[in-house]
Amino acid sequence: MPSEIITPPASWSPRIVAFFCNWCTYTAADLAGVSRMKYAPGVRVIRLMCSGRLDPQFVFDALRQGADGVLIGGCHPGDCHYSEGNYRMLRRFRLLRRLLADLGYEDARVRLEWISAAEGDRVRVVVNEMTEQLRALGPLDLPGRISEWNRELAGNAPGAPSSAAASPVPEVSHA
């Protein structure tokens, strides 16, 4: 992001919202649990039936709500439970990737991984790796930035009261 980054405290740990498909990656995360593998606790998984369900707005919304990164997990190409939902998502992801880059987001903020139901260890590796990368990038803190931008806008607006109280999260329609 273009604005300056405030160095986070050493204890700071990034928050990752993960979208995992029910059949492969969610099951792999279950396997990581059953195998008692240990990984960074900053990740929060949302289960979708298929990575094809991933609406790009889910990614934007997660970032807007304060996630430092978004991880998308689907079945390996050719292994989709619904034949080709992961390919559909891949197309959308490519577009999303370019859009995010144009907006100034670092590539490491949003990551796509094919993880099969057997690859519990891959979940551990990917989450830990992404956590380290995001830790190096620092907090994204979009809610904070948005409220700051709103304040600036309100301050610049002619005749606006200087102490305009902007809501930290602006109202956005998802349609």
């Binding site: 740990s13 059953v34 998984v45 949302i46 094809g52 369900r53 619904y82 099969s116």
Partner: protein, 663 residues
Amino acid sequence: MNGTNHNGIRIGYYICHCGHNIAGVIDCGEVARRIGVLPGVVVSRDYKYMCSEPGQELLRQDIRAHDLNRIVVASCSPLLHEHTFRTAVEDAGLNPYHFQMVNIREHASWVHTDHAAATEKAVDLSRAAVMRVRHHRALTTTRVPINPAVLVVGGGIAGIHAALTLANAGKQVFLVEREPSIGGHMAKFDKTFPTLDCAACILTPKMSSVRAHKGITLWTYSEVAKVEGYVGNYTVTVRRRPRYVNEALCIGCQECISACVYREPKFPDEFNVGLGKRKPVYIPFPQAVPQVVVIDPDRCLELKTGRCKKTCVDACADRNAIDFTQKESLEQIQVGNIIVATGFRLFDAKRIPQYGYGMYPNVVTSLELERLVTSSGPTGGEIRLRDGSAPRSVGFILCVGSRDLKTNRWCSRTCCMHSMKLAQLVREHTGADVTVFYLDIRAPGKGCEEFYDRSLKEGIQFVRGRVAEVTDWALAPEEEGKLVIRVEDTLAGFVRRIPVDMIVLAVGMEPQSDAQSVRRLFNMSCGTEGWFLEKHPKLAPVSTFTDGVFIAGCCQGPKDIPDSIAQAGAAAAEAMALIDRGYIEQEPNTAHVLDDCCGCKSCIPLCPYTAISFDAGSQKAVINEALCKGCGTCAGSCPSGSITQNLFDDDEVFSEIEGLLHA
């Protein structure tokens, strides 16, 4: 608690301790307190075991006493107990889909060591579920009828047992086998451990029953080419390779074999793992089922050159069973369930060159020795070295291609017992000195430890240590003309050289070479080693992630005959449980088009099931609910947000995201 005035939403939240599994890491009381103050939450409790009957009863009582209309349970994976809790919620009079499960065991307590961070994560995940569950709508499942026919893939002992079990229960079964005969690996065995009863005596009656059973359609020399549909209603295409013999007309008299222009058997015989010879027209083994000859197109003069005297056709005479014009055919069948029992392949001993397989003729695999021991085998049951003499000393090397970081890490489970069985047979047949080189003797089955004791008493020597190499380089007079096994005897503590006449490599089991394509065909998963993955290692050992597809036998992992049969029976029972209910209840996570669809048609080519069509009258997309499998790809890509997916609606997912991130 904040029970009042949230549009009538009254949420009950329950966090499970799962004994120490969750409570050992996550402060459940703290989570319950923090979730209890969220808007709409009327009841918030922590409890030792939510899935237990008292736990479920607690839920049901609260629903009635507090008039709850939404339930959230934070415990294990929804893949494990979502169904349990939905049923409990339904029993108490709620719609089962007014429920949301939070996975804080597999996804939190089991994978994090930091108690505070794990507790924080449990709060976030629970808050997300509480915020999501408000948007849940009452849904009803649809019931679709189930086709009572079952496809069994693979005609080894597991496939045979599954097919017979189902057919005996009155179900229609299609049994598809790739080889010209059913029987699989078991048909090649002489005797079975630990009882030393003859494999053929217990297997061939079952094979005959398959042939005779009216309920079983047996297709050998055939492979599944395509699988479409879903549980209850699969359409399967089977590719039937030409055997150049009409199965309906061949009576198995084998006169064509004697009449073949090749007077003597000339080609390596697959059934005897290349130790015997066969003709281009052959029957795989005497007890083969079906008793129908096969013509090998790569060997048959007529099929290769078209210029053979065709003495076989003359011998067949008016039976007219031989048909050189036969072509590959595709058959389509409708089944409700599929049992995959495609078995294993043996480790290729050439991959460990220091054991000399393929280099020294008297180094053989355990299966080759099995064929030598069998009275119906190429030597008529005589154990012979390549020069025709009887061995005076035999060494067995265990764990060849098992428990080895360089090849396969897993234990193949049967080789210890199999080798001890062969060792006893070698002693019985030849009186030779037998030495077994082992890492650990694994004899855990019923009667197996006793069999090990018996092997020791029969004078079989056991040397503990992984064999370093096999060589014919004699360093001492007694080693002349022998194969020398060099091994560190880890019990005696020094390196030994042991000369023997014959070496048997106890090769391990591996997934079939085409396991990956078979897995894709049936929409299954494989573990990292390549064995087909069961739905749950303990609770659903024969189910897969695809409903209506079951696995049995060694395609799921190495196992012995009793275990294969137990799994086959279990898979048959699982299929029958579905069939006898008569219908499948489909998860109502289908997609629906909303009124504001603008008719752009971009969703139509995205659907893998062609469930979406365009209605010219209303100028909108329409989803056929019966075809929709609920992946949500259309909902994720609709440019105008006009497609919604039940249980994964935009409102539900967005509120889940918000709940995760807003403390």
